[in-house]
Structure formats: C-alpha cells, structure tokens
C-alpha cells in the first residue's frame, strides 16, 4: 500500500475506530468492571472488588427471574416459529405480484414503533378495553376478564412485536430452497410430510435459527413490553436491569444482570455461527 493509500485508510477508519472505542468498547468493559464492584454510598459505585452481585443470582428470587425469562423467551420463540413458518412457506409460494404485496405488509409492521404496537394491545385488553366491552355487551361474560397484567399478555405482546423478525429470515431461507430437491424426494416415494421433515426443514434450518435468535434475545431484553403488558407478573432479566439502574440504584447488580444477559445472547449467536452459518459466507441477509 502506498503512503497515500495508508493516509486515506486512516482517514476512513480512524474516526470510526475512535468512535467504536469510546462508545462501545469502553462502555461495555465498564459494565463488566462495575459488575464486580460494590454499591456506592456517595456515588453509584464504590471501588471495591466483590463477587456478591453474581452470587445474588443464586437466590431463589433471582433464579426465578432467570427461569421466567428463559421460559417466556423460549415460548415466544416457539409460538413465533409455529405461526411464522407456515406463513413464510405460504408466502414463498405466492405468485410474484401478490408476494410483493404480502411482503410489504409484513415488512411495514417490522419498521413501526413497538411501543405503539404494544399500546394497540393494551387498548384491546384492559378491563375497560375493547375486547372486554365487546364480550360484555354480547352477554358472553358478566364481569370484565383480567386480560392485561398477566404473563400471557406479556407473551402476546412479545409475539406480536417480534413475529416479523421471525417471518423475514424464514422467508429468505425458504425462498432459496431448490424445489426440485423436494420433488426428487417425492419422486423417490416420500409423502409430503416426510419430504418436509427430511428435505425442506433441514435445508431451511439457517432461517429457523436466525429467526429464533432474532426473537429470543429481544424477548429477554424488551423490558417495556413485558412491563406494560405484564406488570409485576412478568419481570424478566431486561426488567431487572432496568430497575437496578433506575429505581433501585444498584448499578453493580444491574451490571451483573447485563453481563449475564449479554453472555446468553453471545452464546446463542456463537451457536448459530458455529453450526449454521453457510460456508459460502452469503448468509440470509
């Protein structure tokens, strides 16, 4: 590389690298460091090494929160998969003009604010809301049902906001599938179910995994959805982190929770890269 090339490269990369260092690397390292500190008296933290923050997670209360988080995230992912896969399959088989329209109808909610979409459900589910009032006026129920502030409501909120994140990678993967392979399987005598299980599903696994990661990780972290829809009934890791950094003012503990959340996310992504990233490097993007 000539000297001029090197200067040009520095000009391009320098600001970027500096920015990433200042606003990504250092903050994340700081969180890691704070997770080993003590809660401060005059400031938010005190310079004293301790493993207490991580030990607290052995407490049944916090183990429960971890367990709830993983359970709800898993359920959200499973529901999104069960709903999303058939939808993506149908979408990929649509003729071109309709397919573009349907794709647009899936992508548009993907870009709208999740807070607004969650509010739509709050409007529908509250005791004075549309669903309850409709059922009461139709005589189906006498008293309003408690639909909001339940774990199920939180689950619904998460599924609703994250479904497009599952559909799009699935669609990308299914669309790439070589239909002739499925036909070959059927020519060899496999029924439609067997052809699906032995050919289609394994070949679309990258999409399944990508979609699952894109749903699972945010499920743990979208605290405002679980907060608004589930209240005290749906306290997940994301909510825990948020509380420690706001009301509880226990930054070290919140930092430890953040580290755990990040580690879980990283493990899932590594799993994807290790086993399912296509060798060609093209990916599903």
């Amino acid at each position: 590389m000539t000297r001029r090339d090197r200067l040009r490269l520095l000009a391009l990369v320098g600001p970027l690298a500096t920015w990433l260092l200042l606003f990504e690397v250092i903050p994340l390292l700081l969180v890691l460091a704070v997770s080993f500190m003590r809660r401060g008296t005059r400031g938010p933290v005190m310079m004293a090494f301790t493993l207490e923050n991580y030990r607290r997670f052995a407490d049944p209360l916090y183990l429960g929160i971890l367990g709830d988080s993983l359970r709800i995230a898993f359920l959200t992912t499973a529901i999104c998969l069960l709903v999303g896969y058939p939808f993506a399959y149908y979408l990929s088989h649509l003729p071109a003009p309709r397919r573009t329209r349907w794709l647009a109808l899936v992508i548009l909610p993907f870009w709208t604010n999740m807070l607004i979409r969650t509010y739509a459900w709050i409007m529908l589910l509250r005791s004075n809301g549309l669903i309850n009032n409709l059922m009461q006026s139709l005589g189906i129920i006498r008293q309003p049902l408690t639909l909001l502030y339940t774990q199920e409501a939180a689950l619904l909120g998460l599924v609703y906001s994250l479904l497009p994140f599952m559909i799009l990678p699935l669609y990308a993967s299914i669309e790439k599938l070589d239909r002739r392979l499925v036909q070959a399987a059927q020519d060899l005598g496999a029924g439609p179910v067997r052809a699906f299980l032995r050919v289609t599903l394994p070949l679309t696994m990258p999409g399944v995994i990508a979609g699952s990661i894109l749903v699972f990780i945010p499920s743990l972290a979208l605290f405002y959805i679980t907060d608004l829809m589930g209240g005290a009934r749906a306290v997940l890791i994301g909510n825990l982190v948020q509380r420690q950094f706001t009301q509880a003012r226990d930054w070290p503990f919140g930092a430890a929770a953040s580290v755990i959340l990040t580690v879980v996310s990283l493990l899932l992504i590594l799993l994807y890269v290790r086993y399912f990233a296509p060798r060609g490097g093209e990916g599903w993007v």
């Binding site: 001029r4 490269l9 391009l12 990369v13 600001p15 970027l16 920015w19 990433l20 606003f23 990504e24 250092i26 903050p27 700081l30 969180v31 938010p44 999303g84 058939p86 939808f87 399959y89 149908y90 979408l91 109808l105 899936v106 548009l108 909610p109 870009w111 709208t112 604010n113 999740m114 807070l115 607004i116 979409r117 509010y119 739509a120 709050i122 409007m123 529908l124 509250r126 809301g129 549309l130 009032n133 609703y160 439609p192 990780i217 945010p218 743990l220 972290a221 605290f223 405002y224 608004l228 982190v241 948020q242 950094f245 930054w251 919140g254 930092a255 953040s258 959340l261 990040t262 996310s265």
Partner: protein
Amino acid sequence: MMGRGWGARLLGMHSYLTLAFLWLPIAVLVAFSFNTSRLNVVWQGFTLDWYRQLAQDVALLRAARNSLVVAIASTTMSTLLGTMAALALTRYRFPGRSVLEALLYVPLILPEVVMGVSLLATFSLLGFTLGLQTVILAHVTFSTPFVALVVWARLQGFDRTLEWAAMDLGADEWTTFRRVTLPLLLPGIVAGALLALTVSLDDFIVTFFTTGPGATTLPLYVFSMVKFGVSPKINALSTVMLVITLSLVLLAERVRRSQ
C-alpha cells in the same frame, strides 16, 4: 406448486389470519384516534379533536422537537461514519479489519438494555451531564451500523471500472470520488440515512437510559402517556408517528431502488 388439497387451504387460511393478526390492532388503534368517545371503547362519532389537542400540547411539541433535533444530528454523523465504514471495509485490507467489522455490527445484536446502561454508566462516571447531547451520541452509535449495511450492499455491485476510467482520463483520486463514486453511491447513502432517521425517531430503550431532565423525546413521551392510561390522544399521536415512519421507510426503499 401448492396443490389444491385441504392442506393448502388450511395454510392459506392460517396465513390470512396471521396477516390480520399483524394489522388489526394497528387498524383499530388508528380508527379510534378519530373517535369522539374519550373512553376509547365504543365508537361514538368522528372527530379530529384529538389531533387538534396534539397540536396544542406544549410538552408534546417540545418532545417532538427534541426527537427531530436528535434524529437530524445523529443521522448526519452516523451517515458520515457509516459510509466511511462501508468504504473502508469493502475496499481496503488491513490488520484488525474483521475486529472492526464485528464491533461495527455489535449494536445490531447486543440487547438495547445493555447498550443503554453501558452508555449511562460511561457518561455518568465520566461526569457528563445527561441530556440531548448524550442522547445524540448514543443514537449515532446504534444508527451507524444501519447506514454501513445499506451502503455496503450498494458497494457490492459497484463497477470500479468507471472509477479507473475517470482516473485514466486524468482525474485525481479526490475528483474521481467526488464526480464518479459519490454520485453512484448516493442512493445507497440516502437510503441508509433515511433508515438511520427512522431508527433514531423510534428509539426508546437507549434514549430512556441516556437522557436527562427536560430532554424527552417522542417515544419517551408516548411511554409516559401510556403508563398514565389510555386516551384517544395517544391514538392520534401514534397514528401520526406511524404515518411518518412508514413514509420514511417507503421513501428509503424508493431511493434505494433508483438508478
């Protein structure tokens, strides 16, 4: 390819229901923004009152202005950084390139809560006052990868022979960049910028942690309104935000496709 059997029919029904599931709540929300009833439950009559109330809500207008200021400032910087990133990563080979690339795209997979609290911790412990400035810095950090991705995609199909031709004709590097590369990249850069704008306007979690008193943005304002209770005013505000976001996204797509 689908077959006419009951399996295909079931699949079709499921898909239509899923689409309805995605859109009905939004449709209801928008519809009720025009409802005269304050309780937001039964349709009573058509009105634009709630929209009028929005225009008179001073706190709301201030939040909107803040959102706009943050969005424009952060988009400008992130478009610059993102474009530079895409150019550097596609055209040059240098030690640490994969590390840089990985770090660049980290905000896309890192849970926003973690990014939010990490920036909060950094800003506080370094003594920065939290406010619009810190929000802008945070927004640049997560918008840049979006711009980089779009410009990077645009660079993939880029015909470098055009640049070489320009240089053969006597243009120096900078002129070539200015007169050949940049105009050809422009749709991608603009599309990336529009996306960054959208992402910034909609952001809640990171803004939540990095903002300070008096520096509310629109999503934060909506959140506090929603926590307070349900009101058609929120519906009206939501509708406005939806229309803006969708317009930006459609515009970005149109720009991206052009040329």
